[in-house]
């Protein structure tokens, strides 16, 4: 009875799952290709995968394409960082002080259901440049998520931990830095990951509506310009870009909260 048997079993199980996944994706691509070529209902005007790949090859060597990547990432960064810088402290302050929480909660709850993109015209009117207005809308998108997650994490701290700290005679600042903050850290990163997803949604839409550069603009311009395979190149790019940034946050989050590892 060696462990060789065991890992072999694991490997075959893993392989079967992987195989099924590969089969399904290949099947999907095939159906798509056939459907596009034969102009089958929904796929009548939709470009085929082979056309998309050809377009992708062209774009990879095109410098302007990568400039659009950069532009989108830059916007995401601006809005996202701003949302964290303001949202995290605000959430923590609300968690620490009951009165402040009651005061801020209602205006936040009133503003939160308004979709961030609904703010676009207001933002354009108010901010001097289009860039700033886009950044503002992005900020709004991530902001509410961040605050909610920070609050959720902070308010779910086991009261017993706080009591233990109090029984040791800790000062309020100690309780904050040594208990509230570390306990909330996982939620902060969760909020960041979710916020990142929302941020990309907003960036894409804002660029389509009012932008002049970036991947969202690229996708929309491809449509307007009749270059349909490029649309899908744009979509895939945005998907990958978003996935990478969320992945980065998850990675940093895991590093910052080593106690969460499963054993």
């Amino acid at each position: 009875m060696t462990s060789f048997n065991a890992t072999k079993l694991q490997k075959t199980v893993l392989n079967r799952t992987l195989l099924r996944g590969v089969i399904s994706i290949v099947a999907l691509l095939l159906l798509w290709e056939i459907g596009s070529r034969f102009h089958f209902t929904f796929l009548a005007s939709v470009p085929a995968p082979t056309e998309v790949i050809a377009s992708l090859n062209k774009m990879i060597s095109d410098g302007k394409f990568w400039k659009d990547w950069l532009a989108s990432y830059w916007r995401v960064l601006e809005g996202f960082v701003a949302a964290q810088l303001i949202g995290i402290p605000l959430g923590l302050a609300m968690a620490m002080n009951r009165t402040f929480y009651n005061f801020m909660f209602s205006p936040l709850e009133v503003l939160r259901p308004i979709p961030p993109l609904a703010w676009v015209p207001t933002a354009i009117i108010f901010w001097p440049t289009t860039e700033l207005s886009i950044a503002f809308v992005i900020f709004l998108g991530a902001f509410f998520t961040v605050v909610l997650n920070v609050l959720g994490g902070a308010r779910n701290i086991d009261e017993r931990m706080l009591r233990v700290a109090a029984s040791f005679g800790s000062r309020k600042s100690d309780i904050f830095w040594k208990i509230v903050l570390p306990a909330t850290l996982p939620s902060i990163f969760t909020g960041m990951a979710v916020g990142m997803g929302i941020t990309w949604e907003v960036v894409v839409a804002a660029e389509m509506i009012a932008g002049k550069s970036g991947l969202g603009y690229f996708t929309w311009a491809s449509y307007v310009g009749g270059n349909y395979p490029q649309i899908i190149v744009g979509m895939i790019s945005i998907g990958i870009a978003g996935y990478l940034s969320s992945g980065l946050i998850r990675f940093i989050g895991k590093r910052a909260t080593p106690w969460q590892r499963q054993f």
Partner: protein, 287 residues
């Protein structure tokens, strides 16, 4: 299932059914790629209608045996027979069925169904009764077991003691040959536990089905069992067997009798050695 009652809740099973034979059973687990010998060459013969209790330290393999009897997984070696028919071998596991019903440790009453729907579940899904017949039988059984007014409640609304009783009712309504109980009273406080144990004994006295009961509580084992089997720490082997010859029905007075204390001394010595080994080894419990 010849000779079984077609009516749910009516116990027509004869006390010549429900013999379990566990022969040279071993089970190897494979969590995370490390082979673990959970049960090592156990052999047990349980007579029909016998109340058999297995004790041993946590993680010694008692639950593994129970799961094998119930049909939740197979065994690596040996065989398990129910009334002469093989229900678990290395190549074949009879699917879980209502002739050997399990009452689980933390309770498994469906939280989204009422008590009545829970108890009537077995007959309804097996098709042995219409919904109305099953509901009526369930009501009757609940009343018989001293739980008359709770049919429309949800499990969350009841205390743990009542929930456990309902779960036993849910099992009994199917007239099983064997009742398998996996530390059912573990999570209760000592006072509730005592009452629950008496309840179980009353039910047992009425129906005399084979019972396979797992516990780590030695007092509980002595109070309930016809026979106690002591299992060693992992890998679990049957260390010894103890006959508990108190007459039935049993009352809690017997717990202070001299004979009881003698038996207690005997079994404590047997188990303590294993318990110390387990404590020192610090093994994590398998699922």
């Amino acid at each position: 299932m010849a000779g079984r009652s077609k009516q749910p809740g009516k116990f027509a099973g004869v006390a010549s059914e429900g013999a379990i034979q566990i022969r040279n059973v071993s089970k190897v687990y494979d969590p995370e790629g490390i082979n673990v010998l959970a049960v090592d060459n156990c052999s047990i013969d349980i007579a029909p209608g016998e109340f058999c209790v297995i004790v041993g330290p946590s993680g010694c393999g008692k639950t593994t045996l129970l799961n094998a009897i119930a049909g939740f997984h197979n065994i690596t070696q040996g065989e398990i027979l129910l009334d002469g028919k093989a229900i678990c071998t290395p190549t074949y596991t009879a699917p879980p069925g209502s002739e050997r019903i399990v009452v689980f440790q933390n309770g498994a009453l469906f939280p989204w169904s009422t008590i009545l729907d829970n108890v009537a579940f077995g007959p309804v899904v097996q098709g042995t009764a219409t919904a109305r017949e099953a509901n009526e039988a369930a009501q009757e059984l609940l009343a018989e077991l001293g739980l008359p007014d709770i049919a429309d409640r949800y499990p969350n609304e009841l205390s743990s003691g009542m929930r456990r009783r309902v779960e036993i009712a849910r099992a009994l309504i199917n007239d099983p040959k064997v009742l398998l109980l996996d530390e059912p009273f573990r999570a209760m406080d000592a006072l509730t536990k005592g009452v629950a144990q008496e309840f179980l004994l009353q039910a047992y006295d009425r129906i005399r089905k084979t019972v396979f009961f797992i516990t780590h509580d030695l007092e509980e084992a002595l109070f309930l069992a016809d026979r106690i089997l002591v299992m060693t720490t992992r890998p679990g082997r049957i260390k010894c067997s103890l006959n508990v010859d108190f007459p039935r029905p049993r009352t809690f007075h017997m717990r202070a009798s001299k004979h009881y204390l003698e038996l207690k001394a005997e079994i404590f010595t047997a188990v303590r050695e294993e318990a110390t080994k387990a404590f020192v080894a610090g093994e994590r419990e398998l699922a």
